[in-house]
C-alpha cells in the first residue's frame, strides 16, 4: 500500500520494479513466465503427484496410445512406451532432470564466468589482451560443438555432459561481464567513488554488481535455453544421459525405435522440450525488451 503522500512528490519505482512493471505489460512474455512457472512447479512437485515411477514397467500395457486416442486409456494420460512405462510420468521426471540440471549448470557457469569476466574487466595490458583474444576465438565456436568435443574426451554420461555444457557456457558470461565492467568503469559515478578512495574490489561489489544483475539475468535465461537444448541434444545423441534415464532427449532417442508405431512417444517429449525452451525464450526476450526500454528512458 502506498503511504498517503503529503507532498507533491512523484513516485519513483526502483529500477528493478520499473523493469518488472514494463515486463508485465508484455502479455506474451507474461504467458511465457506462467508456462515456465508451471514447468518449475512440475519439476519440483510433479514426481510426488504422478501415479507411476519413471522406470516402473507395466508389461500388460505396452505402447498404449494417449488417452485422447480411441485406443487410449485414461490411466495413462500420455500413453506408454515400448516397455509399458507411463509417458506422462517419464516426461515430468524428465523435466526435473533436464530443467534441473540446466539450471544448476547455468548457475555454475554464471558464477565462474562472472568472476573471470570481472577480473578481465579490471585488468589491463597483456593479460587482458590474451584473455580477450582467446575469448573471441572460443566465443565463435558454438556451445554444442564444444560440449560434444568435451564429451568425446571425458566419455559419455549425464555428469560429463553437464561439465561439458558448463564449460562451454562460461565464455559467454566472461564476455558479457567483461564488457559491462569495462563500460561501467568509465562512468562518472565510478570515477567519483574512486576519487573517494574506493578499492577496485569495493567498486566491483558495491557499485557495479547491482547494476549488472538485470543484464546477467537476461543473459542467464538465454544461457538456460541453450543449456536445455544442448543437454537434450547430447541425450538424444546418446552422449549425455543414458537410457533408461527419463532425460527428455534420451527419451526421444529411445522412442525412435517405435517412432512409426507410436509417434506420440516421439512427439510428446519433444514438445515438452520445445515448450520449456519457448517459455524461457519468451521470458528472456520480455526481460530484455523491458530492460532496454528502461535504459532508453
Amino acid at each position: 500500500m502506498p503511504r498517503p503522500s503529503f507532498y507533491q512528490e512523484e513516485y519513483y519505482p526502483s529500477p528493478m520494479r520499473h523493469t518488472w512493471t514494463d515486463f508485465q505489460r508484455n502479455h506474451i512474455a507474461l504467458a511465457g513466465l506462467w508456462c515456465l512457472l508451471f514447468f518449475i512447479v512440475a519439476a519440483f512437485l510433479g514426481p510426488f503427484l504422478v501415479p507411476y515411477g519413471p522406470l516402473q514397467q507395466n508389461t500388460d500395457m505396452l505402447l498404449l496410445a494417449p488417452a485422447w486416442n480411441v485406443n487410449g486409456d485414461i490411466s495413462h494420460l500420455f500413453g506408454t512406451d515400448s516397455l509399458g512405462r507411463d509417458i506422462l510420468s517419464r516426461i515430468i521426471h524428465g523435466c526435473r532432470i533436464t530443467l534441473g540440471t540446466s539450471v544448476i549448470l547455468v548457475l555454475i557457469a554464471m558464477l565462474v564466468g562472472c568472476s573471470i569476466g570481472a577480473y578481465a574487466g579490471i585488468s589491463r595490458g597483456l593479460r587482458a589482451s590474451v584473455i580477450n583474444h582467446l575469448l573471441d576465438a572460443i566465443m565463435a565456436i558454438p556451445t554444442l560443438l564444444i560440449a560434444i568435443i568435451i564429451v568425446a574426451i571425458l566419455g559419455t554420461g549425464l555428469l560429463n555432459s553437464m561439465w561439458a555444457i558448463t564449460l562451454a557456457l562460461i565464455p559467454q558470461f566472461i564476455h558479457q561481464t567483461r564488457d559491462l565492467v569495462r563500460r561501467e568503469f568509465q562512468k562518472e559515478y565510478i570515477v567519483a567513488a574512486r576519487l573517494d578512495g574506493a578499492s577496485n574490489h569495493r567498486l566491483l561489489v558495491k557499485d557495479i554488481l547491482p547494476n549488472m544483475v538485470e543484464v546477467l539475468v537476461v543473459q542467464a535465461t538465454m544461457a538456460l535455453s541453450v543449456a536445455i537444448l544442448d543437454i537434450s541434444a547430447l541425450g538424444f545423441l546418446n552422449l549425455g544421459a543414458q537410457s533408461p534415464s527419463p532425460e527428455l532427449g534420451t527419451m526421444l532417442s529411445e522412442a525412435l525405435d517405435t517412432a512409426y508405431a507410436a509417434p506420440w512417444s516421439v512427439a510428446l517429449p519433444g514438445a515438452a522440450i520445445f515448450l520449456m525452451v519457448l517459455s524461457i525464450n519468451l521470458v528472456g526476450d520480455g526481460l530484455r525488451t523491458a530492460l532496454k526500454n528502461r535504459l532508453l528512458q
Binding site: 514397467q57 508389461t59 516397455l83 537410457s243 533408461p244 525405435d257 517405435t258 517412432a259 512409426y260 508405431a261
Partner: protein
C-alpha cells in the same frame, strides 16, 4: 508467416515429386537394408550372421547346399557325391565350366576345378598352409566344431574329383560342408596375390563363383555388388545389389516405407504389425532355427556355482520376456533345440518362474542381498533377440525382486564381441542361429569345451560328460540313438543351467511389392541369387 513461406516453398519443391512409394529411378538395382557391417568378406573367418548374410550366398558357392524348402542337401559346385560304407571317405564330383568373377582387380584365366576346393579347405584345415595365418589364422566355425580333428586328409583325385577322409565317422559332416562358412575361394586369385605379396587382400577384395561380384564397400555405409554375368546357374537377378548398412531397425522400417530399401533385414517385432497393415509391403514368416538365451559366465565366481545359475533362471518370468520382447513371434525355449528340429524333445519340462525358490537357492549359495552383477546386452537386433537392452531392463526388474542389483553393459557390436571373448561379462544376453539343420550345430558350438577357445561358448562352460554325449551322438547316423544322447545332454543342461534358453524366434523377411524370388533360408544367410524387381 515465415513458416508459411517455408511450407509453400517446400510444397513447390514437392509438387515435382512422384507419388509415394513409387521408385521410378532409371537405375536398376535392389537395395537391401542390412543390420551391420560384415567383419570380413570371407565367411570362413567369422561366425556372425551379418558376415554370412553379406557374403556367403552372394559372392560364393559351396560344394553342396541346403534346399531352402525341405532342408535336404542338394548339389551345388559338387554335381554329385558319395560316402563310403564306413562313413569315413567322402568323394565329390565337381561341376565343370563354373566361372570365377572377373573384376577390376582380377581376371580369371581358368574356370573352377579341384584345386580351388583343395585350397579352400586346406586354408582352414592345414595349419602349415601358406594362407592359414593370413588375416589372423582363426576359423571360428570350423574350430568350434573341432573339424580339424575330424578330417584326416583332403586329396585330389583328378581335375574335377576330390576326396575327403575322416578320422572317425561324423554324421553331420555333409551338413557342415553346406553351411554358409564352407565357401569355395579361387586358388588362382590366391596364388596371384601371393606373388604380388599382398595375400591379405583375398579377404577384403573377394573373388568367388557366386551370383554377384564385389564392387565397393564402405564400412557402416554400404556394400555394392554387381551382377556376375557368367554365373554357372544362369543369372536373371538384378543388375546391382546394394547393402545399405542401417543398424537401427526403426530406420530400416522407415526406409522400407519410403521405398529407399526394397528388402530389410530383421524387422523388429513391434513393427511387424505395421508391415502387415500396409498393402505395399510384404512379410514372410518361417520358424527359425535359432535360440535366444541368457548365458552365465561360469568362469567367474559366483556363477561357477550351479545353484546361483539355477536361482537366476528361476527368478525371471520368461513368459513376460516372450510377450514384451518378441510380441508372440517366438516360441518359448525349453532347451537349445527349436521345435522344428527332428531331435526336439517334446517331453522336456520347462522350469517355471519361482522367485521364492530362487531366493532360497541364493541364500544357500551365500549370495547376500544387494549383490551386483552385470548383464551384457548385445547392441544389435537379431531374430533370436530383437531387443537385448530392453530384455536386460526387464530382467533387471525381476532380479531386483530377489535382491540382486543389475548393471547393464552394452558396447558397439565389434567391441562388444571382442570384450566378450575376453570373458569380462558376468552374464550375457545373446543367441545362436543355426548354420545347418543338424542338432549338433546347437549343442557343439554353444557349450562344448572346444567352443570356449573359438568364442562361441559364451558361458565358458566345460563339462566332460556333456562333451562325451555330444561326441557319441555324431558317431552314429541312427537318429533315434542320436536323440537319446541329446536327451541325456538336455538333462545335464537342466541341472547345470550354464545358460537359460529363452526363445526360438520366427524368422521374418520384409520387402516391398514388386520384389520377387526372395526366399527365407532357415539354414543360413539370405540369398539374392534369384531375386528380381518389377519396375512399376
Amino acid at each position: 508467416m515465415r513458416r508459411r513461406v517455408l511450407v509453400v516453398l517446400a510444397l513447390s519443391i514437392l509438387s515435382g515429386c512422384q507419388k509415394p512409394g513409387q521408385n521410378s529411378l532409371p537405375m536398376e538395382g535392389l537395395v537391401y537394408c542390412s543390420e551391420g557391417s560384415p567383419i570380413t568378406f570371407n565367411p570362413q573367418l567369422d561366425i556372425s550372421g551379418t558376415t554370412a548374410d553379406a557374403t556367403s550366398h552372394q559372392l560364393y558357392n559351396r560344394l553342396i547346399d541346403f534346399d531352402p524348402e525341405t532342408g535336404k542337401l542338394v548339389p551345388s559346385l559338387a554335381s554329385s557325391w558319395s560316402v563310403s560304407r564306413d562313413g569315413l571317405t567322402y568323394a565329390f564330383q565337381l561341376r565343370k565350366h563354373v566361372n570365377f568373377h572377373q573384376t577390376a582387380y582380377f581376371t580369371p584365366t581358368r574356370s573352377f576345378n579341384a584345386k580351388d576346393v583343395l585350397f579352400s579347405i586346406n586354408r582352414w584345415f592345414d595349419p602349415n598352409h601358406p594362407y592359414h595365418q593370413v588375416s589372423g589364422g582363426r576359423y571360428p566355425y570350423f574350430e568350434s566344431l573341432g573339424l580339424q580333428q575330424i578330417i584326416k586328409e583332403v586329396s585330389l583325385i583328378n581335375g574335377f574329383r576330390v576326396e575327403i577322409k575322416l578320422n572317425y565317422p561324423d554324421s553331420s559332416f555333409l551338413a557342415t560342408l553346406a553351411t554358409d562358412f564352407a565357401v569355395i575361394l579361387s586358388e588362382e586369385y590366391a596364388s596371384q596375390l601371393m606373388t604380388e605379396n599382398r595375400p591379405e587382400l583375398i579377404d577384403s577384395l573377394p573373388i568367388g563363383t557366386g551370383p554377384f561380384k564385389f564392387h565397393r564397400y564402405r564400412k557402416d555405409a554400404y556394400i555394392r555388388y554387381s551382377r556376375h554375368d557368367g554365373y554357372w546357374e544362369g543369372n536373371q537377378s538384378v543388375e546391382q545389389l546394394i547393402y545399405d548398412i542401417t543398424s537401427r531397425s526403426s530406420l530400416r522400417l522407415a526406409k522400407l516405407i519410403t521405398g529407399e530399401c526394397d528388402v530389410i533385414a530383421y524387422p523388429a517385432q513391434t513393427e511387424l504389425q505395421v508391415i502387415e497393415e500396409r498393402s505395399d509391403l510384404y512379410l514372410e514368416e518361417r520358424p527359425g532355427l535359432n535360440v535366444g538365451f541368457w548365458a552365465f559366465n561360469t568362469a567367474r565366481a559366483p556363477f561357477d556355482d550351479a545353484r546361483v545359475r539355477r536361482a537366476l533362471a528361476l527368478a525371471v518370468d520368461r513368459k513376460t520376456l516372450l510377450d514384451a520382447i518378441y510380441f508372440d513371434t517366438a516360441v518359448a525355449a525349453k532347451s537349445l533345440l527349436p521345435p522344428s528340429s527332428w531331435a526336439y524333445d517334446d517331453t522336456l519340462e520347462q522350469s517355471s518362474y519361482n522367485p521364492v525358490q530362487a531366493k532360497k537357492l541364493l541364500q544357500e549359495a551365500g549370495i547376500e542381498p544387494g549383490f551386483t552383477m552385470t548383464i551384457w546386452a548385445m547392441p544389435v537386433e537379431r531374430a533370436y533377440n530383437p531387443n537385448a537392452t530392453k530384455m536386460a531392463e526387464l530382467i533387471k526388474h525381476y532380479l531386483a525382486d530377489v535382491g540382486i542389483q543389475v548393471q547393464i553393459v552394452s558396447h558397439e557390436w565389434s567391441t562388444f564381441r571382442r570384450l566378450l571373448l575376453k570373458g569380462q561379462h558376468d552374464s550375457v544376453l545373446i543367441g545362436w542361429s543355426a548354420d545347418n539343420g543338424d542338432p549338433d550345430n546347437f549343442y557343439r558350438p554353444l557349450l562344448s569345451c572346444s567352443a570356449i577357445a573359438s568364442g562361441s561358448n559364451r558361458a565358458n562352460w566345460c563339462s566332460a560328460e556333456y562333451d562325451k554325449l555330444i561326441n557319441l551322438a555324431v558317431r552314429t547316423a541312427d537318429e533315434s540313438i542320436r536323440m537319446s544322447y541329446y536327451q541325456q545332454a538336455n538333462q545335464i543342461l537342466m541341472d547345470q543351467v550354464p545358460l537359460l534358453p529363452i526363445a526360438h524366434a520366427y524368422r521374418f523377411q520384409a520387402y516391398r511389392k514388386g520384389v520377387s524370388g526372395l526366399q527365407i533360408n532357415p539354414f543360413g544367410g539370405i540369398s539374392f541369387a534369384n531375386v528380381s524387381k518389377d519396375r512399376d
